[in-house]
Amino acid sequence: MADKGGLRTPLARARGLGPAKDGVAHWWAQRVTAVALVPLVIWFVASIVLLSNCSYERFTAWIGSPLPAVLTILLIVATFRHAQLGLQVVIEDYVHREGTKLAGIVLVKLGAFALGTAAVFSVLKISFGG
């Protein structure tokens, strides 16, 4: 495959050839966000249940106040990081054409970033004056 005696060492040529490219960092980020999401999800679901079908004023007053706003933003960041990492693994497992796989991973990354930004912006807009 690769010619001998090039500028790059055999290790440098082998690095990054695995399907995951950066497995350990990916694995850790998936677990750390998972641990963060457990209390955040329980808090968020409980809050939303208590706000079921509430008025616009009550909802924006709640999500706009400091603690709920910060916790919701943390939830959003952890959720989209966790989802992006998870969907990447699913794509890597089932999509075997290199181009399609890469396109899928990039699309998931960009999508997660865009949706996360939209959600964080919404919370901030409500917080800083409707």
Binding site: R31, A34, V35, L37, V38, V41, I42, V45, V49, L50, L51, S52, N53, Y56, F59, T60, I63, T79, F80, A83, G86, L87, V90, L115, A118, A119, F121, S122, V123, K125, I126, G130
Partner: protein
Amino acid sequence: MASDNRPLSPHLQIYKPQFTSVLSILHRITGVALALGTFLLVYWLMAAAAGPDRFAQAQGLIGSIIGRLLLFGWSFALFYHMLNGIRHLFWDAGKGFELKTAFLTGWLVVAGAVLFTLIAWIAAYSVMGGI
């Protein structure tokens, strides 16, 4: 080539489904479903940021029969994925791999997810004055 003799992970199409393997693929399915569900969350937050009219529109959509059914499925997926995720974290720590334990925790996850979903919806309906 040597790689031809390497062990393969069980393919879902040819491997007889077992309780533990069904739970395993369900973790992945619920994960993907939850990722799709984030579209609804973002839509809802953006509607709230856009003002009272948009928020009322979103609440109406989410409060419709289809909206509630989707939300019900999504809430079960969320609780299942969360509880089974905790099960996975214990596995990551090297604990709970014994066959008996794996089946027991599996049933706990399923029962917990059903229980959490019911509690959440009964609480939501009582908040809305529906029960």
